[in-house]
């Protein structure tokens, strides 16, 4: 029983991180119907920026004097960096192809993904980079189960970001503009919405969320690697599809489900095949219910 509860906690932690990445996929897909292959690389870049900033701060001793300040400062800077990166990628590789065929944009995204991954490798090296360990120790012990401080931090930050995103999308003018652009790009530009700017903003927000997930996964597992974006990226995409692509609430639910399934499959079935389950769920969902859990009826050409 303890094992079960422990697994639920682990699943929630991982699922929250997948949800954060999945949001970027689902928002971008909702607005320009593109699978942003480079999204996993934003996540990896976030992990790297986190390790760079935190080691810098740790080397100068700020981590001991102002740990929380450092952590949240690094988180915000990382999110800002990845937002800038995403806007640059969007401007260079996707915007000129806005009216090209879908295949061209998809391949351009794939090229960007490979480019960014290798750019990370060339600048930061092929080996794992370790996070400073000041934060990863300790936890709340409830006798049978333990919450590590890391897990509490991850769950808290995830919840804050998800609530913030919901508020942004459903309560603000820019969120309204984003939803309008997603529904009909031509009409929304006729009523005075700068659709190019809205699309760039969407990319930036999605990448910032992925960057937050990257820094937290780095803190959680203790290290990052240049190709760490690929597999979580695919899983997060599976989560987005599972929830109904284009649907923000769906992406959150889908992320939690994929995280739970992965942790339980690793805990109760076999840990070697834990990566397979996300793909199997993805295929099953697309086969039996292509619109996902929360998805509205999309027409034939979309699916």
């Amino acid at each position: 029983m303890e094992f079960f509860i422990q697994q639920v906690i682990n699943g929630l932690t991982l699922g929250g991180l997948y949800a954060l990445i999945a949001l970027g996929y689902t928002m971008v897909y909702g607005i320009i119907q593109l699978i942003n292959f480079a999204h996993g690389e934003f996540f990896a870049a976030g992990g790297y920026m986190g390790v760079i900033l935190l080691t810098f701060l740790a080397a100068h001793g700020y981590m001991e004097t102002h740990p929380w300040f450092c952590l949240f400062g690094a988180l915000l800077l990382t999110m800002g960096y990845c937002a800038m990166l995403a806007m640059a990628v969007e401007k260079v590789a996707y915007k000129p192809l806005r009216y090209a065929s879908r295949l061209s944009v998809l391949l351009s995204a794939l090229g960007m993904s490979i480019f960014l991954q290798n750019g990370l490798m060339l600048t930061q090296g092929v080996y794992d980079k370790a996070y400073p360990t000041d934060f990863t120790s300790g936890g709340l012990d409830f006798g049978l189960i333990t919450f590590s401080y890391m897990q509490i931090l991850i769950v808290a930050v995830t919840i804050i970001l998800l609530v913030g995103l919901n508020a942004l999308v459903f309560r603000t003018r820019i969120g309204t503009a984003m939803r309008a652009t997603a529904q009909d790009k031509v009409m929304s530009s006729l009523v005075g919405i700068n659709s190019n700017r809205i699309i760039a903003t969407t990319f930036a927000i999605g990448a910032a969320l992925a960057a937050a997930a990257g820094i937290m996964i780095g803190l959680y597992y203790g290290s990052v690697r240049y190709d760490m974006g690929f597999v979580p990226g695919i899983k997060a995409f599976a989560a987005a599809v599972l929830g109904g692509i284009g649907n923000i609430t769906g992406a959150m639910i889908g992320g939690l489900i994929i995280g739970m399934v992965e942790i339980f499959a690793a805990g109760y079935l076999s840990s070697e095949y834990k990566d397979v389950w996300a793909f199997i769920i993805l295929i099953a969902v697309l086969y039996f219910r292509p619109t996902g859990i929360m998805g509205e009826n999309v027409n034939d050409t979309r699916v």
Binding site: A88, L97, S104, L107, S108, G111, I114, V276, V303
Partner: protein, 407 residues
């Protein structure tokens, strides 16, 4: 686009400033907390200089400064092309075949090695071309069939000592079966979804190869695969035939050359058959094709199976040549490589795919000292290609835009 010259340079400066902001944190902060600017400034300087030169050239070109050179050049090229078009294609193909057949004589092992790689990738590219170029199904897990072919021959060879030539059809059949298994549930999807699901299937195959220790020996791979054999007449002493193991690189080269020729002829014949026309109809407009009586589901499945067959054949050869297989050779990046060859060369065009394979295998060998930057350049080239020449280096003659993409 002829903007005011000053405005373009302003944009360029803003872009370069943005680029430096993105570049510096990655190169400027050391693990011990030191801050440097020299490394990042060097890289940035190269990029800025190259882009400035390209932009200046482009500006001059837009202003028409090079017309004195480009107009006669274009006319000469047009004339040469018209002259070459008058020569029947069979002449060009025989010329290419002669060069390919003469290649292993008098060249080093290194050249033969690269040539074998090029030919393997031509087979793979042509196989993928059937799926993506003819039928318009984006397959990101194509390398799985290559893996199925390779492991089929590897396992048959070490467990049952089956000769290469008998294993070849078995590998092709199993790959086709894998193609059907993957194709059956996925073919109801279109476009992007199909891409991501095939990517998932490719990863599943790799994970199974990696984790099924009892069958595949996991990440350690399979060693001791037999090379192909051949009955060779023996003229010394009593006349007879003896079984010869083809271990020499030259022999391997001719085997893959034969496979490549078979693949080229088969893909060409498929392309210009009823099936090929039906595939192209599906590519251009699936709904219209179905209304005209094309059995889209069966033909898409056939496209998958046919593509897989060529992948499986190339895989079996790969196992026989390396005499070692491991899951590492069948990762996603290989799928992306093959896809890039098809896209770079021109989807649906056989000479285009061959050109793409040649460019992506042979060019990195030429720039051997820049080995580290190979994948970086490869990813960047893929994007640049899509931006400036989305139809490829040697576009297919019959190719339209899918009607669903027009809106």
């Amino acid at each position: 686009m002829i903007l005011g010259s000053r405005k373009v340079w302003l944009y360029w400066a803003a872009g370069m400033a943005w680029f430096y902001l993105l570049l510096w944190p990655l190169m400027g902060i050391g693990a011990d907390g030191t801050v440097t600017f020299a490394d990042s400034l060097t890289v940035w300087g190269y990029v800025a200089a190259i882009s400035a030169v390209l932009l200046a050239l482009r500006q001059q070109h837009a202003r028409g400064s090079f017309t004195a050179v480009t107009t006669p050049l274009a006319r000469a090229l047009g004339g040469a092309k018209a002259g070459m078009d008058r020569v029947p294609p069979v002449v060009w193909w025989s010329l290419a075949l002669c060069i390919a057949a003469a290649l292993p004589f008098g060249t080093s092992r290194y050249v033969q090695d690269v040539a074998i790689n090029v030919l393997i990738y031509i087979c793979l590219g042509l196989g993928l071309n059937v799926v993506i170029g003819l039928c318009g199904l984006l397959d990101l897990g194509y390398i799985a069939f290559y893996g199925v072919g390779a492991y089929t021959y590897a396992l048959l060879s070490i467990h049952y000592a089956l000769p290469f030539w008998l294993a070849l059809p078995v590998a092709a059949a199993l790959a086709a079966l894998a193609g059907c298994i993957i194709g059956y549930p996925t073919l109801r999807m279109r476009g992007d979804y199909l891409a991501i699901v095939t990517l998932g299937f490719g990863e599943i195959v790799r994970l199974i190869l990696n984790n099924w220790m009892a069958l595949t020996n996991g990440p350690n791979g399979i060693l001791g695969i037999q090379p192909p054999t051949i009955w060779w007449p023996n003229f010394e002493g009593t006349f007879g035939f003896e079984l010869l193991q083809l271990k020499k690189l030259t022999a391997m080269y001719f085997i893959i050359l034969g496979l490549t020729i078979v693949t080229i002829v088969a893909v060409h014949r498929l392309n210009f058959s009823r099936i090929g026309r039906a595939w192209e109809a599906i590519r251009e407009d699936e709904t219209a094709a179905e209304l005209m009586g094309v059995n889209t589901f069966r033909l898409k499945l056939l496209a998958y199976a046919m593509g897989a067959v060529f992948g499986g054949l190339a895989g079996a050869f790969f196992a026989a040549r390396m005499r070692f297989v491991s899951p590492e050779s069948f990762s996603f990046i290989e799928s992306a490589m093959v896809l890039a060859m098809v896209v770079l060369g021109g989807m649906g065009s056989i000479p285009g795919v061959m050109l793409g394979a040649l460019a992506l295998v042979a060019l990195p060998e030429v720039f051997r000292q820049f080995e580290l930057y190979r994948m970086l350049a490869f990813g960047g080239a893929m994007t640049v290609m899509m931006l400036f020449r989305p139809k490829g280096l040697w576009p297919a003659k019959r190719f339209g835009a899918r009607s669903e993409e027009m809106d």
